[in-house]
Symmetry: C2
Subunit: 338 residues, 2 copies
Amino acid sequence: MLAFVGLGIRGEESLTLEGLKELQQADEVYAELYTSPLPKLELPNLEKIIGKRVKVLDRREIEEGEELLKASAVKRVVLLVPGDPMIATTHVALRLKAISLGIQTKVVHSSSIISAVAGLTGLQNYKFGRSATLPLDQTSAHPYEVLGENLERGLHTLLFLDVKAEESRYMTANEGIRYLLQLENQRQRGYFTGKRLAVIVARAGGDDCLVRGDRAEKLAEVDFGPPPHALVVPGKLHFLEAEALKTLAGVPPEILAKQESLQVKGLKEELLEEIEKWIEKLEKKVEPLKSRPEMENILAYLQDSEHFRKRGDLVKSFECLIWAWALLHTSRDKLVEG
Amino acid sequence: MLAFVGLGIRGEESLTLEGLKELQQADEVYAELYTSPLPKLELPNLEKIIGKRVKVLDRREIEEGEELLKASAVKRVVLLVPGDPMIATTHVALRLKAISLGIQTKVVHSSSIISAVAGLTGLQNYKFGRSATLPLDQTSAHPYEVLGENLERGLHTLLFLDVKAEESRYMTANEGIRYLLQLENQRQRGYFTGKRLAVIVARAGGDDCLVRGDRAEKLAEVDFGPPPHALVVPGKLHFLEAEALKTLAGVPPEILAKQESLQVKGLKEELLEEIEKWIEKLEKKVEPLKSRPEMENILAYLQDSEHFRKRGDLVKSFECLIWAWALLHTSRDKLVEG
C-alpha cells in the first residue's frame, strides 16, 4: 500500500487529520521535498507529531522509485509530498508504476498554491487561465506566450517560479519579473511591460505570508524575503477583485484605474473589429452604386461575408470583405477612387 | 478576529492541524455548507473533535454577515467553509467587509477540488484552461464557450456542477453532460458531441471517490452515486496523461487513440494555415510573371504579408495576401485566369 499524503503549503501544520491518521498507521514514512520548498516545515517536529522517523528521498530516488515500491509491496508506506499530491508529473508516474505492480494506492489531498493564490489575492479562481513556470535555466518564451494567451481573453495568470531544491536555488519574484521584462523586450507584444500590474505572493499559507501588488517595474525593486514566491498577472478585473487587490495586496488605486488600458486585444476581437470597420467602409461606397450591373459580384461577396460572420467563420467573412473591396478598386470601369 | 478555516473536500478529516488549533482556540465557531456539499462531513463528530458547538449559517446570514462580524469584533471567531476558503466570492466580500471594520482576518487553507481533480484524473494541472460552472437553472452558453476556448488551445476544462444546497439540489454529472450536449445541438461548433471524451469525478477526496472516463454519450447513462460530481473535458493528451486516464479513470484505449481527431481548431491556427495556403498558391502564379511591370504592386503586397506574419500580425498578413490575389485576377490586363 502506497499512500501519497499532501503536506499542504505550510509544513507539518497543514497536514490534514486524514493524513495524520495515515501517517500514524504507516509502517514506513518517506518524504520528497524537492518539488516545492516548504519554509515552515520542521522535520523533527513532524516526526514528533507522527511518532516515527521520516526518510527524505532525493529526486533520483523518487523517479526510480525502487526503494519505495519495494517497501510498498509488503508494507503500509506513506510518501509525504509538498502541497496537494499528484500535481508534479513524477508523482503520477510513480502512482501508475505502483498500480501496474499490483500495489494499492491512495491520495490524501491537502492545500495547494493553486487554489490558495486565488484566496490570498482575492482574484476569482474561475478567471485564471492556464498557468506556467518561469524557468531558472533554459530560456523559454513559453510563459510569455501563455501570459499573452490569457491576457487576450482577459484572464489572470499564475506563474510558478522555478525551484531547484537540490542546488538550493529558488527563483525570486524579482528574477521572475526581470525574466518576463526581458522577453517583452525581445518580443514587443505588450504582454509584460514595466507598467503591467503584477501581484507577488510570498510564502503562501505561512504566518509571514506576503501579498503585494504594483507595477512590475516597482515590484522588481522590492525584497520579498525568503522563498517560495509566486507571481500573478491579473487580467480584466471585476470591481470586487479590484477592491480586494487594494485591500489585500496594497495595490495603489491609480494603477487599478489604468488597468483597463493595458488590456491585450485577442485575435478574435481584432478580426471582429476589422470586419466591422470594412463593412462600414464598404457600405458607404456601395450604396450609391447599388443598381449598376458591375456591382453584382461585389454585392454577392458582401452577402457571403455576412453569412460567414453569422456562422462564426471570421476568417472567411473577412476574406470576402477584402475581395469586395479589391473588386471595387480594380474593376475595369473603376467604380471608386482611393 | 475572524479566521476562515477550510474544511477541505472530505469533511472533518480534511481539516488541517493548523485549522484544528484555530478551532480549539476559538470563542465561537460558525460554518457555511451551501457553497459545496461535503458528503463525508459529520457535524457531531466535528464538534466532538474540536470540543465546542458549531453554528451553521445559511446563505443570507453569510452574505449579510451581521452576526459573524459583530462577534468577530470582540471575540476570536472561526468560519468553517467547504474546500479551500475564499474560492467563493461571498467569502472574499465578507473578508473585505471585516477588514474595513478593523477586524483582523486570517485564512487557513485546505484541499480543494481545483487541485484535487488534476491528481485524481492524472491530467496535468498546468494544462487546464479556465473553469466554468454548469448552472442548474438559467440556460447560459457560457460554459460551452469556455470549453471551446480551451479546446482550441488544446487545454483541459474543469466544469463545476451547480449546487443549490438550500433546496437540496445538486446537478449530477449526467445532467451536466445533457446540458452540454443540448448546447452542442444548438451551436454546432463541435465542442461537445456525444463522441467527446469526458471524465467524471464523483465525491473527490472521499473513500468512495469515483473517477470514470468515456465518451460523453456513454457516461450520460451511468449512475455515479451521490453528489458532489465534477466534469472534466480533456484537451490534447500527453502520453503520460493518456496512460493515467486508462489506469485511473478506466478510459477504453480505443477512445484515447481517437482523441486527436476531436481537436478543435483555434482561430490562430486556422489563420496561419490559410496564410500558408494562399502564399503557396500565389507563389506558383507569380513566379512566371515576376518581371512584368504590372506585378510591382502585387509583389509589394506579398512582401508586406511576410513582414506582418513575422511580427505576428496575422490579420494584416492575411489581408495583404487577399489583396495580392484579387489584384492578380482583376488587373486591367488580366494576368491570370480562374
